[in-house]
Homo-oligomer: 333 residues x 2
Amino acid sequence: INRISDELHAIRDLPAETLDGYRVCLKANIELPEEADHVLKYGAEGIGLYRSEFLFLTPGYPAEEETQYQAYRRVLEAMGDRPVTIRTLDLGGDKLLPNLQSYDEKNPLLGWRAIRFCLSLPELFKTQLKTLLRCSTEGNLKIMFPMISGIEELVNAITVVEEAKAECLEKGFPFNENIEIGIMIEIPSAAMTADILAKKSDFFSIGTNDLVQYSIAVDRGNEKVNYLAQPFHPGVLRFIKRTIDAAHENGIKAAMCGELAGDPMATAVLLGLGLDEFSMTASSIPLVKKIIRGSTIESCRILAEKIMECSSYQHVTFLVEAWMAEHFPDIGD
Amino acid sequence: INRISDELHAIRDLPAETLDGYRVCLKANIELPEEADHVLKYGAEGIGLYRSEFLFLTPGYPAEEETQYQAYRRVLEAMGDRPVTIRTLDLGGDKLLPNLQSYDEKNPLLGWRAIRFCLSLPELFKTQLKTLLRCSTEGNLKIMFPMISGIEELVNAITVVEEAKAECLEKGFPFNENIEIGIMIEIPSAAMTADILAKKSDFFSIGTNDLVQYSIAVDRGNEKVNYLAQPFHPGVLRFIKRTIDAAHENGIKAAMCGELAGDPMATAVLLGLGLDEFSMTASSIPLVKKIIRGSTIESCRILAEKIMECSSYQHVTFLVEAWMAEHFPDIGD
Ligand SMILES: [Mg+2]
Ligand SMILES: [Mg+2]
């Protein structure tokens, strides 16, 4: 299923650039360090999301500093000087540390997870941050916080980074003083206040899976209601546009690392909305790149403007499908 | 605890009007029909939210048409020609019909509930709507749908109302052809597309409890994270403002029936944001009215403008408390 057609293979080393010269960046999402070895053959320009959870889910963990260190280094080495964004622990809810007492929650998706979990266990969080800082001289490393809901949480997380930096200094570990700290935008209150959060962030990465779930108040895993989980809901599209616009008005980049970023039916829309970076399963990169290279940014912007006027996701879908049928008749959904 | 001081009692029959003559409407939330008998003594100008769930939660129910009919009539009679907004069944999630097989959900707050539940059980829903229509000639009745997330859902619900009307016509039941149909705004995607929804709604009522939960992705019942559930989060305030502005731009009223509507610390802010109707536990009405009658709309608007510039809920809270201390030193929090 990961077979790349010759045509797609041929564009591997070509830039993700539209016909009229508008350049974006395509990166890979990975879960295990060893995956980093394989993403380059799909043309990934870096890692946009390294999910650090696996290091914490194996019994016997939370991973000791050394184990974490080796894992992060391996990814950085595989990527050379390409950027690697490591997301801090995004656990909690239904995925708890094996040696932590389980906390029974009626609505784990609205519960004690991700940055909330880390901020309530500052030693565990600081250990991860110190380890990341220690690796920061060995590659182009960026740190990303999941599930930020407001400025207080972001400020608190940054405070822990400052503490970790102080401890590294004390121990004589060299680190990159200017390491970029970004946040995921995946909660409606964060998207709605992206202009505020941008003032304290070095980049955004939109997590469309959670953003859809919270925006529409629907658990995608619930078969009775998951028909509502539409990334093309006008409300979700407005959150995405708001986030990208706020990033640009504040001089930072807007990435996306949710499923939508790797969906070829969304590529033109996201380009038109101004997304700077698309991070996805590596094997999705060639097709997305093909669409980018076969489009003009002008036509994508016109499409995006049109869909932002739509009242319903059905209408959005109709326009996007029509656009794709016209420009890429061989790529169906 | 429901004791009304003489001063508060004295303003019962006075309008909810600011010192500079800006008039709003204060209504009561009720759960049981017999509560309607008591709300007038607090000065309620109508029922802003009648929760119809109790009719469906007693074993032996869903209530037969006749039982529902008597309950709705009783409320309408108690209120005379004052408006009564009845919300259609807001069940599901953790509150299921006793004779319906329970549906196990990992995140009931993001699940099969409210309008989703009703649209998947159209006969049950249509029975309630027909009963409401039958009562619509006996008072000033409005119908309100909970948990609308987008335009498709609203259109589907309105279609069931049309079917119910057709059945009433067929059976010769008289009803108010122009009965107002409004929606709760309590899901971020709805607040974000309030301009779209306003075109198909006769009024909005903002449900702040759920709106806060979904906007910030936090279950208020979860002790580990409920510190995040701040109605003064700038994101939540922006959703409220957006909803009110969209209502007014489309010539409809914006009400609020969540806890915030009865919170005296929020009255000035909500006035300043332009809220038209406040619906709350009846016993909260006198104090809210006292604040309204002791304020100028000008000073409330200045306060609202200031808080809309804040980056954090702490800053909003600080400004609101300072405003209250200046204008109402005897009403603390
Ligand atoms: Mg997420
Ligand atoms: Mg609700």
